[in-house]
C-alpha cells in the first residue's frame, strides 16, 4: 500500500477543493494511503511565467522542502507537475537544483500515476455518460500525459468521443489569460465549440485553471458542455462507501 503525499495545488485548494477530495478518494480506491502536508502552498508558476524567476524560486524552494520527506508526490494538475519537472532545476541552482531533481523524479500527475505508476486502470468507478477529453498543454507536452485519463474514464464505462483539435490550447496560459483576454476568450470559444460538436455531456481535462477559464467563458456564451476535472468526474462514479 503505497504512501502518497498529495500536492493539491493552490488553485484546487482555494477554488475547487472538490477536485482535491476526489483525488484523495481515487488514490485510496487504488489502494494508497494519502497524506496531506499542510505546509504546501503554490508551485510558483505564475511568477516564473511572468518573467519573475527570483520570486518563483522562493516558492520553488519552499515546495521542495515541504515534499522532501515523502516517497511519492501526486498532484491533480499536469501544469503544476510540469513546473516541478521542467522548471525547478532551472530556477534553482547548486544543491537546491539537486533537491529539485529529486523531487521531480518522485512527483506525478494524477492520471498517469494511477494508470502508469500503479497500473490501476479500473478504480472501481462507474460513469454512465458521454465525455470528451481536452489534453491540457503542460501535461501533454511536458509530461507526455495523453492516454491515461482516457483509459481511466473508458474503464469506468464512460463513452469517449474524441474532441476535434483536442491538443490545441484552450487559451488560458496563466498570466496570458489576464494580459491577453482578447485572445484567450476566442481560443476558449474554439475549444467550447469543438466540444459542443461531440455531443458529450462533459468536457473533461486535467488542469483546474484551464477548466475555470473555459467555465468562465461558457457562463458568458452558453456554448459547450460543462467543463469538469477528470478526477472529479471519475470519483463521482465511485461507490458511496468508498471514502
Amino acid at each position: 500500500m503505497p504512501d502518497v503525499a498529495l500536492f493539491v495545488t493552490c488553485v484546487v485548494d482555494q477554488l475547487v477543493p472538490e477536485v482535491g477530495v476526489s483525488t484523495v478518494r481515487l488514490l485510496e480506491a487504488a489502494g494508497c494511503r494519502v497524506e496531506f502536508p499542510a505546509a504546501q502552498t503554490c508551485c510558483g508558476q505564475p511568477a516564473s511565467n511572468a518573467g519573475e524567476p527570483e520570486a518563483a524560486a522562493l516558492l520553488a524552494r519552499h515546495l521542495v522542502e515541504v515534499f522532501e520527506p515523502y516517497e511519492v508526490v501526486v498532484a491533480p494538475s499536469g501544469s503544476c507537475v510540469a513546473m516541478v519537472h521542467h522548471w525547478y532545476e532551472r530556477l534553482l541552482s547548486g544543491r537546491d537544483a539537486d533537491r529539485a531533481r529529486a523531487l521531480a523524479a518522485k512527483t506525478h500527475e494524477l492520471a498517469s500515476y494511477l494508470a502508469d505508476g500503479l497500473g490501476t486502470i479500473d478504480v472501481g468507478a462507474t460513469i454512465d455518460a458521454t465525455v470528451t477529453v481536452h489534453d491540457a498543454c503542460h501535461g501533454l507536452r511536458s509530461l507526455g500525459v495523453r492516454d491515461a485519463p482516457r483509459r481511466l474514464l473508458a474503464a469506468a464505462g464512460a463513452t469517449l468521443v474524441e474532441l476535434p483539435e483536442s491538443e490545441t490550447c484552450c487559451g488560458f496560459g496563466g498570466t496570458f489569460a489576464l494580459e491577453h483576454g482578447e485572445i484567450a476568450a476566442p481560443l476558449a470559444d474554439d475549444k467550447l465549440r469543438h466540444a459542443a460538436t461531440t455531443g458529450a455531456r462533459w468536457l473533461v481535462s486535467g488542469d483546474t485553471a484551464c477548466l475555470l477559464h473555459l467555465e468562465g467563458r461558457r457562463r458568458r456564451t452558453g456554448i459547450g458542455p460543462e467543463p469538469v476535472h477528470f478526477a472529479q468526474l471519475l470519483a463521482s462514479g465511485l461507490p458511496a462507501g468508498a471514502r
Binding site: F36, G51, P53, E54, L58, C137, R141, F176, G216, R217
Partner: protein
C-alpha cells in the same frame, strides 16, 4: 514600423483585438488549417530526419565564424563577390552601391525574409530602381501596399476575393476570383518583368560552406527566373543560413519542405554555383552575396543561440493557436508567430522592437513540439520575459565558457519516447535564469511580496482566508465587475468563485475524524 498591416494598433494587444474583430481576416486564416498537420507528419514519419537536422544545425552554430569564413572562401573561389553587412543599413548601402555601379534599373525579387528585414524593396524604389516581387503571395502584398503576414504563405491573411480585388488594380479588366485564373494572369504579367530585369534579388535557404552553393527553395519557379535572366544577381543571406556540407541538404531540404508545406520536395530547388562561366547559356554575369549579421552572431554562446538553428519553415506559426487567430500583422514585425516573438526582440539592435511580443503566448508548447530542428521556443519565450525586464537584457547573457556540444540523457531515448524539445541539449537550459538583477518595478515588487507571503504556510493561510471572506461577502456579483485588477479577466469571462471551504480546511475536518468532509 506599423506600415502595411491590415490590423493596426499601438500594441500587440490592440492589434490582436482588431484581428479577432475582423471577420474577413478570420475567414481567410482558416486557409491555414490545411498546413496544421505538416509538423505531425515530420514527427511521425521522419523522426530520424528531425534528429539529424537538429544536430547539423548545432554543428554549424558551434563554430559559426569558422563556417562563414569557409563559405566565403568557397563562394569567392567560384567568382562570387562576398560582402559582410553588420546592420540592415550596411546591407542596403552595399546593395545600392552595386546597383549604382552596374547602372541597374529594373529588379525582380524572389521571396526572402532577409530582404524584408532590411526593407530592401523600399530602398531600391527610393533609389529609382523598379523592384517587383515575383513570388505570387509576395506580389499580392506588394501591390496591396502591405507586408507579408506569414513567411511561407505571405498573403494568407487575404481571401480569394480580396486577392482578385488587389490584382485588378494592375490588370486591364476584371479578374476571376479563382486561384487558377489569378495565377495565370500573374504568370503572364510577371513574365514581362522577368524579361526586362537587369537585377535579380534573392535570399537563400542554405549556403553550403564546402561548395559555395546557394540554394533556393520555391514552388513557383520564380527563384529560377530571378537567377537565370537578369545580368546581375544579389543574394541577401543571413549568416545562420550557412551549412557545413552540400551533402547536408539530403537531410535539411526534405525536412524544410515537409515542415513548410508537407511536400517531400518543393516544385523547384535552385542551386547556384557561382556566376555564369564561359560556355554557359544562362545565369548572372555578376553574382554578389551579402552576408547579413543584424545582431545574429552576438547570440552565439548565449541562452538564445538555438534561435539561430531556425530554417524558416513556418511550422511553429501553423500550429500556434495565437497566430491562427491573430494572423501575422498583429505582430507588427518582419517575423511573426512563435519564432517571431523570440527573434524580433533579439534582432532589435536598438532594443526597442517587439518587447511586448513574448507576453503574447499561452506557453502551450505547440511550437516547441512542431519545430523540426528542436528549438525550445516556449522556454525561450519564458526566458525572454525575464531577460527583457533586465537592463541591457537585449544583449543576451554571455556564457563564461562554451561547453562542448553534449547530449542530455534523454537523447539516448528513441525519438518517439522523447518529449517535445527534449532532443537537444539546449543552451537555454544550461545557463542559469536571472543571473542579472532586475530593476524594482511595481510588477516585480508585487510578485516578490506575493512570493514572500506565500512561501510561508501561515502567510498563505491568512491571505487566502481574507480573499475568500471578501469574495464570499460579494457573492456572484463581482464575477462580472469591470474593475481595474480583475477587469482583464471579467471583461470576457465570469470570474471563478472560491469554494465555501478550502481543501485544507476540509482535510482538517477529516483528520478530526469526520465521516463526511
Amino acid at each position: 514600423m506599423s506600415h502595411g498591416v491590415v490590423t493596426p494598433g499601438d500594441s500587440i494587444r490592440e492589434r490582436a483585438a482588431n484581428a479577432i474583430d475582423d471577420p474577413v481576416l478570420q475567414q481567410a486564416m482558416r486557409n491555414l488549417d490545411v498546413r496544421l498537420p505538416t509538423a505531425r507528419i515530420v514527427a511521425d514519419h521522419l523522426p530520424g530526419l528531425k534528429d539529424r537536422a537538429a544536430a547539423l544545425r548545432r554543428e554549424t552554430l558551434a563554430d559559426l565564424p569558422g563556417w562563414l569564413d569557409r563559405a566565403e572562401a568557397a563562394l569567392t573561389a567560384l567568382g562570387v563577390h562576398v560582402h559582410r553587412a553588420e546592420t540592415p543599413e550596411d546591407a542596403r548601402r552595399i546593395i545600392l552601391a552595386i546597383a549604382s555601379e552596374e547602372h541597374l534599373t529594373r529588379a525582380v525579387k524572389s521571396k526572402s525574409m532577409a530582404t524584408e528585414e532590411i526593407d530592401l524593396v523600399d530602398a531600391l524604389e527610393g533609389a529609382g530602381i523598379e523592384a517587383v516581387e515575383t513570388d505570387l503571395g509576395e506580389y499580392i502584398v506588394q501591390v496591396a501596399g502591405e507586408r507579408p503576414s506569414h513567411m511561407i504563405v505571405p498573403a494568407i491573411h487575404k481571401t480569394l476575393e480580396q486577392i482578385a480585388d488587389v490584382l485588378e488594380t494592375r490588370a486591364d479588366g476584371p479578374l476571376p476570383a479563382d486561384s487558377e485564373g489569378l495565377t495565370a494572369w500573374a504568370r503572364d504579367h510577371l513574365r514581362a518583368r522577368f524579361l526586362a530585369a537587369d537585377l535579380g534579388v534573392t535570399g537563400a535557404n542554405f549556403v553550403a560552406a564546402d561548395t559555395g552553393t546557394i540554394v533556393l527553395v520555391t514552388n513557383e519557379g520564380n527563384g529560377d527566373l530571378c537567377t537565370i535572366i537578369p545580368r546581375v544577381q544579389i543574394a541577401v543571406v543571413p549568416v545562420e543560413k550557412v551549412i557545413a556540407r552540400f551533402a547536408d541538404l539530403a537531410t535539411l531540404l526534405p525536412l524544410l519542405t515537409m515542415s513548410a508545406t508537407g511536400q517531400r520536395i518543393s516544385n523547384y530547388v535552385t542551386m547556384i554555383n557561382g556566376p555564369r562561366r564561359e560556355g554557359e547559356i544562362d545565369g548572372p554575369e555578376v553574382l554578389h552575396v551579402v552576408l547579413l549579421d543584424h545582431g545574429r552572431t552576438r547570440l552565439v554562446g548565449t541562452a538564445y543561440e538555438d534561435m539561430l538553428a531556425c530554417i524558416r519553415c513556418g511550422a511553429c506559426l501553423n500550429v500556434c493557436p495565437v497566430f491562427r487567430r491573430i494572423s501575422g500583422h498583429a505582430y507588427d514585425a518582419v517575423y511573426s508567430g512563435p519564432m517571431g516573438k523570440v527573434l524580433t526582440p533579439l534582432l532589435s539592435l536598438a532594443g526597442t522592437e517587439g518587447r511586448d511580443l513574448p507576453e503574447a503566448s499561452t506557453l502551450c508548447g505547440a511550437c516547441t513540439e512542431a519545430c523540426p530542428v528542436e528549438i525550445p521556443l516556449a522556454d525561450l519565450l519564458v526566458r525572454l520575459r525575464a531577460d527583457l525586464r533586465r537592463p541591457g537584457a537585449v544583449d543576451p547573457l554571455p556564457s563564461p565558457s562554451r561547453p562542448a556540444v553534449s547530449s542530455r540523457g534523454s537523447r539516448s531515448r528513441s525519438p518517439a519516447a522523447r518529449l517535445p524539445g527534449e532532443g537537444f541539449d539546449s543552451r537555454v537550459w544550461r545557463l542559469p535564469l536571472a543571473s542579472r538583477p532586475a530593476p524594482w518595478t511595481r510588477r516585480r515588487v508585487a510578485f516578490t511580496v506575493w512570493a514572500r507571503i506565500w512561501a510561508r504556510p501561515d502567510g498563505y493561510r491568512v491571505s487566502t482566508r481574507a480573499a475568500r471572506i471578501a469574495s464570499l461577502a460579494l457573492g456572484r456579483r463581482w464575477t462580472r465587475w469591470s474593475l481595474p485588477g480583475i477587469r482583464a479577466w471579467t471583461e470576457t469571462r465570469d470570474g471563478p468563485l472560491p469554494a465555501g471551504h478550502s481543501f485544507r480546511s476540509r482535510w482538517d475536518k477529516r483528520e478530526r475524524g469526520a465521516q463526511r468532509w
